[in-house]
């Protein structure tokens, strides 16, 4: 874990008077923790974007970056499956759309990202509880978390065995083992992310909440498609 790199980002966020990190900052932290994320670029100046020099594999996901927009997809701030050819046009369309819906939103730029393959959607989270300190959470995405609240928790920090036991504890674990055509997921890689998130929460006590949702799980490896980090006072 690159603690100095993480510290620099957090200091910058505090200096700008923010508590909620931009997605590209949160993903940068994830990378510094040692968690894989899709390759991406934060584009501040759309006009000077040179598509030919963009070393990202097609297709792309583009996401709006604005301090006022937290739930990006609710306002059309996420566009999937964009080709290189259409990239610039899609970016400009998205910005125009958002400006008409939220004229007061300050638009910092866009995040252009390689679109990841479909896998099993899991969630890894961290919350700092006033009584118990940093606590990590694991669950499977979609209805498992939202409807059944099928999640497990552990106090952080924790070791790989504990992380594995919390993965096995959720009822939807069967799906990770492979189920009806879904190949088995890389459970060790998920556990590794949980351990790293726990260590991060324990070392950086100013972090109030972190969500990796989804952490896409594959037969080989995982990918953090969305990372959200919220700081405390």
């Amino acid at each position: 874990m690159d603690e100095r790199g993480i510290r620099e980002i957090l200091d910058r966020v505090y200096k700008e008077g923010r508590k909620i990190l931009y997605e590209y900052e949160a993903k940068e932290i994830a990378r510094l923790i040692g968690i894989p994320t899709p390759k991406n670029y934060f584009i501040e100046d759309i006009d000077s974007l040179n598509i030919d020099n963009l070393d990202l594999k097609e297709p792309y996901v583009i996401k709006i970056v604005s301090p006022q927009i937290i739930h990006k997809s609710d306002v059309g701030g996420v566009v999937l499956n964009v080709s290189r050819e259409n990239l610039k046009r899609e970016i400009l369309n998205m910005i125009e759309n958002i400006k008409s819906k939220m004229p007061d939103a300050e638009i910092k730029g866009v995040l252009v990202e390689e679109m990841a393959e479909k896998g099993v959607e899991t969630i890894v989270g961290l919350v700092k509880d006033p009584q118990f300190g940093p606590v990590v959470m694991f669950g499977l995405g979609g209805i498992f978390v939202e409807v059944y609240r099928d999640v497990s928790f552990r106090l952080a920090p924790l070791d790989i065995d504990e992380a594995l036991s919390m993965i096995k504890e959720v009822k939807a674990y069967k799906i990770l083992k492979g189920y009806r055509g879904i190949p088995p997921s890389d459970i060790e890689a998920i556990a590794d992310v949980i351990v790293k998130v726990g260590e991060f929460g324990y070392k950086f006590q100013e972090v109030n909440e972190l969500d990796i949702n989804p952490l896409m799980a594959y037969p080989n490896g995982v990918n953090a498609l969305d990372v959200r980090i919220i700081l405390g006072d």
Partner: protein
């Protein structure tokens, strides 16, 4: 916790002299009850009633002020009204008491935080441990000390019960006698102004008279500290928690999924898991598990054998074994062959082993001996369903007789028969064997022994 304060907790639990400040001659007052209970239950230390308006209480010389007591005073037990607590506390400190307990209520529980803080400050400055305020008292069966307004001491044993509810303490004392659940100390912690679960658990790690710690908990002062301390102490002795207040706190403002899912109950359960604390589902389950964990060794593997004289009870135990995460497994062929020769042809040598309703003391002994002797077997649940032709006391005696030779393997017993098996139950418990009225409870107790065993396997050798 400061070492000086921690070391003095012994004067709360094992004082050689107690001043009861606010002692009274009026039998309706708590100040009378406390002195009366100390005498009645046979406290061996010195008792100094303090009351400026009395010369004598219950035959004991009464002093107007603690400063007038001629000898040393280990513990000041304060029973005066809240408004007078600061004054008598100041005198107690001047007298040089080593610990303070305050029964008096009317502090933070009714919003009077300021007065409570002032008391804590004074004690902390003088390195004196403070129990309470708003407690029923401290009871220690090893010293016949009933320093409380509980009418009796609990049944004597090796569980120390720390309770956040005073009323519950009083109510449960009768239960400990009826069910012969052995208590070493009963400590009411009230408002936990200074000493709470965290500090007492830390102290009890070294307490020679405590084999298991039972908690009735509504909330802790510092969750993280509680988890760390308990994890440490759990390596030496089991901790069982009855957590009340299971209804979820109101919708918490959280910007993340994780934040909105991390409810109070979930976090306590998480902390218990981290700390190796065995979580209990209410009072009955808490005492059941504490009984097993205070009497029996942890279950070191997953191979449990059920030995029963009734098929139905066997099936139920098998169901609950699965519910509680310790499903029954097929027993090895050689053990099955041995058992086959010991039971009637219409019995079952499979797990659960069915001895049939014809099983007498000797049948239980022979089969239990073969089972406990076998290296594959980690623990046994023995069930007796009362039958017309057998004497439950004989069976109980047989079970206790066999188990004595295999003390490293845990056993829990289920005796079905209500009042027909009361004497047998007493016999078993007095011989260190936890006994329960249903297969479910006997199996839950065995599962608790396994849960603790698993914790020790993972963390027992650390640090």
């Amino acid at each position: 916790m400061e070492r000086e304060i921690k070391e003095k907790i012994k004067y709360l639990l094992y004082p050689e002299s107690v001043a009861v400040i606010g002692a009274s001659r009026n039998p309706k007052k708590i100040g009378f009850q406390v002195v009366y209970n100390l005498i009645k239950d046979g406290y061996k230390g010195r008792i100094y009633p303090i009351n400026p308006n009395a010369d004598e209480i219950l035959g004991l010389k009464c002093y107007p002020n603690i400063l007038d007591v001629p000898g040393e005073v280990d513990l000041a037990m304060i029973v005066v009204p809240a408004s007078k607590v600061l004054d008598v506390l100041r005198d107690s400190i001047e007298k040089g008491v080593k610990a303070v307990a305050i029964i008096t209520s009317g502090f933070s529980e009714i919003g009077n935080k300021e007065l409570e803080d002032a008391i804590v400050d004074m004690c902390r400055k003088n390195k004196i441990p403070l129990l309470g305020p708003n407690i029923v008292g401290v009871l220690n069966t090893d010293h016949n000390m009933n320093l409380s307004f509980c009418p009796n001491l609990p049944f004597k044993g090796r569980i120390t019960f720390i309770t956040q509810s005073g009323a519950l303490a009083i109510g449960l004392i009768g239960w400990t006698w009826a069910s012969r659940i052995g208590i070493s100390k009963l400590v009411s912690i009230g408002n936990m102004a200074m000493l709470g679960f965290e500090e007492l658990i830390e102290y009890l790690e070294e307490d020679m008279d405590t084999d298991a710690i039972l908690l009735y908990m509504e909330g802790v002062k510092n969750g993280r500290l509680f988890a760390e301390v308990s994890r440490n102490v759990s390596r030496k002795k089991p901790i069982i928690a009855i957590k009340a207040g299971k209804s979820e706190r109101g919708a918490k403002a959280a910007a993340s999924h994780t934040g909105s899912l991390a409810g109070n109950v979930m976090l306590y359960e998480t902390a218990f898991k981290y700390a190796g604390v065995v979580s209990a589902d209410g009072l009955e389950d808490g005492f059941d598990k504490a009984l097993a964990l205070s009497l029996q060794p942890p279950l070191k593997g997953d191979n449990i054998v059920v030995v029963t004289n009734g098929g139905g009870a066997g099936v139920l135990s098998s169901d609950y074994a699965e519910t509680f995460g310790i499903p029954l497994r097929d027993i090895p062929v050689d053990l099955m062959d041995t058992v086959k020769n010991l039971i009637p042809p219409f019995g079952s040598p499979k797990n659960p082993i069915d001895l049939t309703g014809n099983a007498y003391r000797d049948d239980y002994i022979r089969v239990l001996d073969a089972v406990l002797r076998h290296p594959w077997v980690d623990g046994v649940v023995s069930i007796y369903v009362h039958a017309a032709i057998t004497d439950p006391v004989e069976i109980a005696d047989g079970i206790a007789y066999v188990w004595k030779n295999y003390r490293e393997k845990p056993i829990t017993v289920c005796m079905i028969g209500g009042r027909e098996v009361l004497v047998a139950n007493t016999w078993l418990r007095d011989n260190g064997i936890p006994v329960y009225p249903t297969p479910k409870r006997a199996m839950a107790a065995m599962a608790a022994l396994r849960e603790y065993g698993r914790f020790l396997e993972r963390y027992g050798n650390e640090g």
